[in-house]
Amino acid sequence: MTVLSPRPTIRKRLSSARALLLAGLGLLGLGSSGLPARPALATDSPLPAGLIEEGHYQAVLGDCAACHTQPGRAPYSGGMPFKLPIGTIYSTNISPDPVHGIGRYTEAEFARAVQLGIRKDGSALYPAMPYPSYARLSKADIHALYVYFQRGVAPQPVSPPPNGLIWPLSMRWPLHIWRWLFSPSIQSAQLRTNNQFSDPVLARGAYLVEGPGHCGACHSPRSITLNEKAQTAKDGPLFLSGGGVVEQWVVPSLRQENRTGLGRWSEQDIVDFLRTGRARTGASFGGMTPVIVHSAHAFKDDDLHAIARYLKQLAPARKETPWVYDPTTTERLRQADLSQPGAQTYVDRCAACHRTDGAGYGTVFPPLAGNPVVMTDDATSLIHIILAGDSTHALPTTPSAFAMPSFADTLSDKEIADLVSFIRQSWGNNARAVKEGTVRRIRQNLPQLETPAQLPKN
C-alpha cells in the first residue's frame, strides 16, 4: 500500500552474515573500474522466456539485496554503510550501470567475482561477499543471475561513497592470500556439494544450503582466520553446528541436537519458519529476521522442503539428553508459589504472552519451554531480546507481525539475570544460570531500539 502520512521507512537490518565478516575483514568490493566499453550483454538480444524471472529467483536465494540494496533506495544501487572499528565501508552498486555498476562485466567476469571473489580489475573482494558458498552455484544459475543483473535490474548511475578504511586495512592484496587459503575452486566446491546425496530432494537441499543460501556463513563456526571450519555436510559435524555471537545474537545450530539444535523441529516447522518467520516451535528474531524478510520467505515450496529435509539429516554435533516437558514450574506458578528467583518477574511481565507453562501461543507468541535458542550455552540472545525487544515482520506470506516490548527500562540487571536463569531452568529446560554482570555487559552494548515508526503496523 501507499502511505501518505509522514512516517520514516522501515529500517532494514544488517544481516548477521555480513556483520560477522565485516567485523574482521571488510566488504564486497565488487564494482566497475577502468575504461568505458560497450555493454557486456546487448540489451536487444532476445532472451529465453522466464530467464529473468529465474535470475531474480537466484538473487532472492542468494539474498543479494541484503547488502546491495539500501532501504528506500533503488534496488542494487549499493551504498549501504557498514560501520566498523577500522572505518566505514559501503556496499557497491551492482546494477547494470556501465560506469557505476557492473554493466561492463562479461558473464565470465561476473562469475569470477561472484564465485571466486575477484573483481573485473583483478583485485580481491572482501569475503563478506560469501563467494566461498557461491562457488557452488551451477553454471545455469550463474547465467540466470547474470542475465537478471544485466537485463532485469534498472541501471542506477550512482556511486557509493568511497570506503573510509585506514591503511593497511585498506589494502586489498592480502585478501588474495585469504582467498587462496580458504576459498574453494568452483570445480571442487561443486563436486563436493553435488555428490553427497543420490536423493534429488536432499541434493537440492544441499545445493541451496551450502550454495546460494550460504547458511554456513553465520551458522557454522569460524576459525581464528574467519574462514568457516566446515563448508558442506561432508565436512563433518562442525558444519552448521552454530556460529559465534553476532551483534549480540547467538547463532544457533541447525543440526539435530535435541535441545539446542533442530532435533525436535519437524520438516514442516522448518518450512514454516523460513516462509513466515514463525513456527509452532519458535519465532525468528535478531539477525535471522532480515534473512527471512529479504530472502527465505520467497523461496519456492519445494526448495523450502528440500532445505528442511536436508537439515533434518544433519547428525547432532553434540549429544544431549532429550528435552522432556517438566510441569513442576507450571504447577508452582499456578499455585501462586513465586519463591523461585525470577518467578515473580516472569509472572508479572512474561507469562501474559509466553504462559505460565512456557508454551506460548502457537505461531503468535513463541514458546520458551523447549525452545532451542533459550537453551544455548551462551544466553546472550535471551538477555538481548528481553532488554531490546524485537518484532517479527509482515510478509506476503503472513501479513501480521508481532512485537515484543523492550524491558530495558523496566527490569534491572539482577531481575533480568534471575529471569533468564528461571526461563533457562524451567519446564524441562536445563541451561546454565546467568550472572548479573553478563546482563550489564550486554546492556551496555545494546543497539538502538526500534522507534515506534519501525514497529509493526498491525
Partner: protein, 597 residues
C-alpha cells in the same frame, strides 16, 4: 513513497473513515481490482505502539483520559432532549465514545459480536404480522431494513471468520448443535473459534439462569479464545481475560480490530492507499447533484485543504459523522420533524442499557478485573422474536447478561456510591471496596425504537474547528422503550436471588427520565442515514446505496432503521460485506441505481 505535500493520484474509490466499515469496503474493492484510497482523520494506530505491553495497561491514559477517542477539541455535537430546548455542546466525552484514528471505534471497542435476529431486520412487518398495525405507537417510525436475515447470513458468516469470533452455535444448516443460543436463527457454519470461558461471575449467572428455565449462552465474542489466522492470513493471539478491551488497543492481538484483522493484508496491496490525518469536510457533487465527484478534505499534517476525485465514494465514518457529512454536503433532504419529510437525520436511535448490581457473600470474590469485552453469558428470553410482547405492550426487547469486561479501579471507584449511598468519606470507601471485591454487574442491553421527534440535524450556533456547524442531537427516552426496559429489569431481581445475592441494586429507566449525557450508555448510536425500501422514508436502498447519489454508499450503523437489543458491530460488518458483494457483482458492471426509486 510520496511525501506529505504531494497530491495523491486519482483512485477509483474513495473511502471516508478507517474503521470496520471502511476497512471491509477497502478490502473487498481492492479484491475487485480497484484502486482504493482510504481517508482517516486521525493517526495510524498499531498494537506495538498503542497496545504495547505492559505500558498500555494504564487506565488513566486509556479509558479515563480517552486516548483513542474522538478529539472533542476539534469537533463535537450538541445535544438536547426535546425540540423546544436549546441544544448545548457535548463538551466532555461521557455518554458515548466515538473513536479517532485508524481502526476507529473498532480499535477500542469491547468485542461483543452478534448477528441480528430475523425480526430485527424486518421489525415493522414482523410486528404487524404478530400484533397488528395498531400495536405500533403513533409517533414511532418503525421500519424494515429491506434485507432479510437469510440474505445477510453469508455475510454474517464471513464477518465472523474475519473477526475470529468465539462462540457456540445452536443450529447449523438445520442441525441442532452445541449449547448456543436456542433462539438464534440457523447458521451456515459454526463460529470459527470455540466460546470464551466463563468468568466466575458469568458461571454463577449461567447456573442460576439454567435453574430458572432460561436459556443462557456464551456471548459471541470477537475476542479470540485461541490463536487464530483469518481468511486474509491475519493472525490473532489468544485472549487472556486481561480486561483491557473497551477503551484500549488489545496488546495480545486477540480482540478483532480493523488494524489486526484486515489492514495487515490491505497494507500489502499496492492498490490500497491510506491517507491519515485527512479530515473530510465535504463530499463534492457535480452540477446535477446526482453524482459524487470526490471529496474535499483538510490535510491536518500540512494544514492545507485538498480535493480528491474518484468514481465511487464510500462514506464509512462513525454514525454521527456519516450523518454530519451528508448534511454539510447537501446530499439528500434533511429530515424535518414537523412535516416528517426528508430522510437525512431521520430515525436516530441509541441503545437502552441499565446496569444492575448483585452482591455475593463476602467469601466469594468476583475478581471483576478479570474479563474480556465480548465474553460473558446472556439470555435472550426477553429479546428473541417469539417472546410475546402483546400483553406487555411494547416493541423491542433486551438481552440480559453478565458481561464482565474487566472493571478497572478508577472506573469502579467513580461508579460506586450514589442512589442514597455516600459518594465519599469512610463509609463510601468501605462500600466501594466491598463492591469491587464481591459484587458483579448484570445489564439489560436493549433495543431503542425510532420516533418522530428524535433526530439529527445541524446546530445553528456551535461550529467545529473547520468552521462547519456541529451536528445537533435531539434525543430522549420514550415510553415504549422505558416499559421494555422496566419489564426486563424486573426479572433480574429473581435471577440475582437464584445466584445467591446478599443484596441487589436494580436499575431501570424511569418514566419521564430524560436522556442524561453525563453517564456512559454504550457507543451504539444508530440511524440518520437509514436503509429501506422507500426513498421517502430512507436515505439508502437495501444495498446501502444513496437514493439521491447512486455512486455514493453509506456504510455503518447509520443505516439501521432502529436500534436492536444486540451490539451493532456484527450487523455493521455484515451490511458492509453485503453492500460490497453487490457493488462487485452488479454496480461495477453497470454503475447506477441498483434499485429504481
Amino acid at each position: 513513497m510520496p511525501d506529505e505535500t504531494s497530491t495523491p493520484t486519482r483512485p477509483d474509490v474513495l473511502i471516508i473513515g478507517g474503521g470496520w466499515a471502511g476497512s471491509i469496503m477497502a478490502k473487498e474493492l481492492t479484491e475487485a481490482g480497484l484502486n482504493v484510497t482510504m481517508l482517516e482523520r486521525g493517526h495510524d494506530h498499531s498494537t506495538a505502539v498503542e497496545g504495547t505491553y505492559p505500558g498500555s495497561i494504564d487506565e488513566l491514559r486509556g479509558a479515563i483520559r480517552k486516548r483513542l477517542f474522538q478529539k472533542l477539541a476539534r469537533t463535537s455535537l450538541t445535544i438536547r432532549n426535546r425540540p423546544d430546548q436549546t441544544a448545548l455542546p457535548y463538551r466532555q466525552l461521557t455518554a458515548f465514545l466515538p473513536g479517532e484514528g485508524v481502526g476507529g471505534a473498532g480499535l477500542h471497542w469491547s468485542g461483543c459480536h452478534f448477528r441480528a435476529t430475523e425480526d430485527d431486520l424486518r421489525l415493522r412487518s414482523a410486528t404487524i404480522e404478530r400484533y397488528g398495525e395498531n400495536f405500533i405507537p403513533k409517533d414511532m417510525h418503525l421500519q424494515d431494513y429491506g434485507v432479510t436475515y437469510g440474505e445477510l447470513e453469508p455475510f454474517f458468516d464471513k464477518a465472523e471468520k474475519v473477526f475470529g469470533t468465539s462462540g457456540e452455535a445452536s443450529s447449523v444448516r438445520g442441525q441442532k448443535t452445541g449449547r448456543g443460543n436456542i433462539f438464534a436463527p440457523d447458521r451456515s457454519d459454526h463460529f470459527p473459534l470455540p466460546p470464551m470461558a466463563d468468568t466466575f461471575s458469568a458461571s454463577v449467572f449461567r447456573a442460576a439462569a439454567t435453574d430458572m428455565g432460561y436459556h443462557p449462552f456464551s456471548i459471541p465474542a470477537a475476542n479470540a479464545s485461541q490463536p487464530y489466522t483469518n481468511p486474509y492470513g491475519c493472525q490473532m493471539g489468544p485472549c487472556n481475560f486481561c480486561g483491557y478491551c473497551s477503551g484500549y488497543a488489545c496488546y495480545l492481538y486477540s480482540k478483532a480490530s480493523p488494524n489486526v484483522n484486515i489492514l495487515p493484508a490491505l497494507r500489502q496491496d499496492r492498490r490500497f492507499t491510506l491517507i491519515t490525518q485527512a479530515q473530510v469536510l465535504e463530499i463534492m457533487l457535480d452540477d446535477t447533484h446526482k453524482k459524487a465527484t470526490g471529496v474535499r478534505y483538510v490535510d491536518l499534517s500540512s494544514r492545507t485543504e485538498k480535493t480528491l476525485e474518484a468514481d465511487l465514494v464510500i462514506l464509512s465514518a462513525f454514525q454521527l459523522h456519516n450523518v454530519h457529512l451528508m448534511l454539510v454536503s447537501g446530499i439528500g433532504q434533511p429530515y424535518d420533524p414537523v412535516t416528517q419529510t426528508g430522510t437525512i437525520g431521520r430515525n436516530f436511535t441509541y441503545q437502552t442499557i441499565t446496569s444492575s448490581r448483585v452482591w455475593l457473600p463476602e467469601d466469594r470474590f468476583t475478581s471483576q478485573f478479570v474479563g474480556a469485552g465480548g465474553a460473558g453469558v446472556a439470555i435472550d428470553d426477553f429479546n428473541h422474536p417469539g417472546f410475546d410482547r402483546g400483553r406487555l405492550g411494547f416493541i423491542g426487547g433486551s438481552p440480559i447478561w453478565v458481561n464482565q469486561a474487566g472493571l478497572k479501579p478508577i472506573a469502579a471507584a467513580q461508579g460506586s456510591g450514589g442512589k442514597g449511598a455516600p459518594r465519599w468519606g469512610s463509609a463510601y470507601k468501605s462500600a466501594m471496596i466491598d463492591q469491587y471485591r464481591h459484587s458483579l454487574g448484570i445489564d439489560a442491553h436493549g433495543s431503542n425504537m425510532a420516533y418522530r421527534d428524535v433526530y439529527l440535524d445541524l446546530d445553528p450556533t456551535w461550529t467545529n474547528a473547520y468552521g462547519q456547524p456541529l451536528l445537533r442531537m435531539t434525543f430522549t427516552w420514550k415510553d415504549n422503550d422505558i416499559r421494555m426496559n422496566q419489564h426486563v429489569v424486573s426479572h433480574i431481581g429473581d435471577i440475582a436471588h437464584a445466584m445467591g445475592a446478599t443484596r441487589t441494586s436494580l436499575n431501570s429507566l424511569q418514566p419521564g427520565q430524560p436522556f442524561d449525557s453525563r453517564v456512559y450508555q454504550t457507543t451504539h448510536l444508530n440511524g440518520g442515514v437509514i436503509m429501506g425500501e422507500n426513498p421517502k422514508t430512507s436515505a439508502l436502498n437495501r444495498y446501502l446505496q444513496s437514493w439521491d447519489v447512486p455512486n455514493l454508499f453509506v456504510i455503518g450503523s447509520s443505516a439501521f432503521p432502529q436500534g436492536m437489543g444486540y451490539n451493532p458491530t456484527g450487523l455493521v460488518a455484515a451490511l458492509a460485506y453485503w453492500s460490497a458483494h453487490h457493488i462487485r457483482r452488479t454496480y461495477l458492471r453497470n454503475p447506477g441505481p441498483m434499485v429504481s426509486a
